[in-house]
């Protein structure tokens, strides 16, 4: 594993070093706000100490990133493949327009998590948030899975406008009740056995990544949000 000290290096220098590294296992230390780390690249395993800048792993194509601290905005923007593990929290627009791969956050996530997420053939994006999220979760979502676990048991697990304009994919909320208002475009149901089975595969992996007890996570009620088939917005989209 190669270690790169990022102190006083600007984002271009850091990104170039990551890109040109012969060793695929890279540790970045003293990271402070450098943007675009691992953007667009595949085949690297990157461990990050410190808080990386915006657009971490944007357009990423198959690398693995583990961040020991929190991350900022637009993590995994339009990501294609790979995995991002964050031990802290995440800023706004996490996984924006993501089309493949996984983003696992231990803490909370900000506004607009997973908006415009989509799936196609073998591409299936998954975002799991350990804490709570801000407003506009999964807005215009078209595919994949979004999970909010609320492990700390906060009262409001999501903000306003959850799933507005959603027309594909699923949002799982781990809660006894949902106190925030949901828009008419989503249908909120108790997760079925089939839903839970699908979810479990990912939660087992999530629990392992953060050294949590998987049983404690699964042992709670889950709601699933899907597009409402009586969706008044339906006609706005082309049938295919």
């Amino acid at each position: 594993m190669v270690t790169i000290d990022c102190l006083d290096k600007d984002y271009k220098e850091v990104c170039d070093l990551v890109r040109s590294s012969q060793d695929s296992d890279i540790k970045l230390k003293n990271v402070v706000g450098q943007r675009y780390i691992a953007a667009g690249i595949g085949g690297k395993n990157i461990k990050i100490e410190g808080v990386p800048g915006n657009a971490l792993g944007a357009y990423m194509d198959g690398s693995n990133i583990e961040v020991m601290a929190s991350v900022q905005d637009a993590v995994g923007d339009t990501m294609n493949e790979g995995k991002i593990i964050v031990h802290g929290s995440s800023g706004d627009a996490t996984g924006y327009a993501m089309r493949g791969g996984k983003i696992y956050i231990n803490g909370d996530a900000g506004y607009r998590t997973g908006i415009h997420m989509k799936a196609y053939k073998e591409k299936f994006p998954v975002i799991i948030i350990g804490g709570k999220v801000g407003s506009f979760l999964g807005e215009y979502m078209a595919g994949g899975i979004l999970v909010v676990l609320n492990l700390a048991g906060n009262k409001d697990i999501v903000g306003n406008f959850t799933g507005v304009g959603m027309h594909g994919g699923k949002i799982f909320l781990r809660a006894k009740e949902i106190t925030s208002p949901l828009p008419p475009q989503v249908k909120c149901e108790d997760a079925s056995e089939e839903d839970l089975k699908e979810l479990e595969t990912y939660l087992v992996e999530y629990a392992k990544d953060f050294n949590l007890n998987e049983k404690n996570i699964m042992d709670e009620h889950f709601f699933v949000l899907k597009p409402n088939s009586a969706n008044p917005y339906k006609r706005l989209y082309t049938a295919n």
Binding site: D10, Y11, V32, G33, R35, G50, V51, P52, G53, N54, A69, S70, Q72, D73, A74, G88, S89, G91, D92, A93, Y96, D108, G110, Y111, R112, G134, S135, G159, N160, P181
Partner: protein, 362 residues
């Protein structure tokens, strides 16, 4: 994080730090903090506000003035001498660096209104000062008072914020609270007067975003005598806050409910008392509602307020360590100067975070 930040790889940057115990520290750290977010600016504006920096003149208004030439200076000084007692005047100390060019003349005056003139004007002292500022800024060509508070000062220029800080030798000032801004102007010219913070009396505002309602807000505020002269949308936020807090006596919380008012849909779900209050504020002060993306940090004598637009289209993070509280557009800007800051918090859209000096701190 919506159109502005997706379309555009940059955006302005804001940062602030305060000791709630009123402990003073140099301006060096706030420069380091804002410098982390270098790529959010494009070199067309940077600036700082420092509170508690003029203890020896704390009872005097500190006017910081840009002059384009010595004629403007002469005219402005004649005006100030007519209406004020000037206890000290000097050039604002600067360091010549290659990154900062085309500097205007930058002067500082510690003043107090002449008693006879103030009595004759039949105005409160603050109103008297504000009217002088607007008079000079609108009527004396080439003179701009960009800072007019007591025991505080604004330092701003065209350049990257870290260069602006070095230009003004901010490390030589000791204050208990600082705010900072790095500018990426999108709709308006990058010039010295248009850099942030925008300030009136001891109120200062740094802003990341763009106000869609600017013209409606500007027209409304001009009816109350606030003249927008600086060609930048942020200016009007400062005047709105002065109007709401000083003239109308609203609290900062209430003012936040005016400028980042909750949606009617959200108001409808509130408990009755709160619903009535928010409805009243939205109805009475509808012209002061600010739409469009913004994250602002408001500096005032007793503290700081951080506020996002109600849709939270810009980023903002708060953290703390002992008596220090930090606010920034990005967490990394806080980590750079306080690695082990705790209680990291992301305010919701429209949720004001108000940090005040502890009781009894002067």
């Amino acid at each position: 994080m919506l159109e502005g930040q997706f379309r555009n790889p940059s955006g302005c940057a804001v940062a602030a730090m305060i000791s709630t115990k009123g402990r003073t520290f140099s301006g060096e750290d706030i420069i380091k903090s804002i410098a982390v977010m270098h790529d959010r600016s494009n070199g067309l504006g940077g600036g700082f506000a420092g509170y508690g920096i003029y203890p020896e003149y704390k009872d005097y208004y500190a006017f910081h003035v840009f002059y384009t030439d010595s004629i403007a200076k002469k005219q402005c000084e004649e005006f100030i001498e007519t209406y004020y007692d000037i206890v000290n005047l000097s050039k604002v100390p600067t360091r010549q660096i290659k990154e900062i060019t085309d500097a205007p003349l930058i002067w500082r005056y510690f003043v107090t209104p002449l008693k006879t003139k103030l009595d004759a004007a039949q105005l409160s002292e603050e109103e008297y000062v504000i009217r002088s500022v607007f008079k000079i800024n609108t009527q004396i060509d080439g003179a701009y008072i960009f800072s007019s508070g007591k025991n505080m000062g604004v330092f701003k220029a065209v350049g990257f914020p870290e260069d602006v800080g070095r230009f003004y030798m901010l490390e030589n000032y000791e204050g208990y609270s600082f705010t900072a801004h790095g500018r990426y102007p999108t709709n308006t010219p990058g010039w010295w007067g248009g850099a942030h913070p925008f300030s009136l009396l001891d109120l200062s505002v740094v802003h990341n975003g763009e106000i869609s309602s600017y013209d409606a807000n500007r027209r409304a505020m001009e009816m109350y005598g606030y003249k927008c002269t600086l060609q930048t949308d942020t200016e009007v936020i400062t005047y709105i806050l002065d109007y709401l807090t000083r003239r109308k006596g609203l609290t900062l919380e209430e003012s936040a409910g005016v400028i980042a008012a909750p949606f009617w849909e959200t108001i409808a779900r509130m408990p009755k008392d709160q619903r009535d209050k928010e409805t009243y504020l939205r109805n009475v002060f509808s012209s002061q509602l600010i739409t469009g993306p913004f994250s602002i940090i408001v500096g005032f004598k007793d503290g700081l307020m951080a506020l996002n637009d109600r849709l939270k289209l810009r980023s903002m993070v708060i953290a703390e360590k002992d008596d220090m509280k930090f606010i920034a557009s990005e967490e990394s800007a806080i980590r750079r100067i306080c690695k082990d800051a705790t209680n990291v918090y992301y305010p919701k859209g429209g949720e004001p975070v108000i940090i005040r000096l502890e009781k009894g701190v002067q």
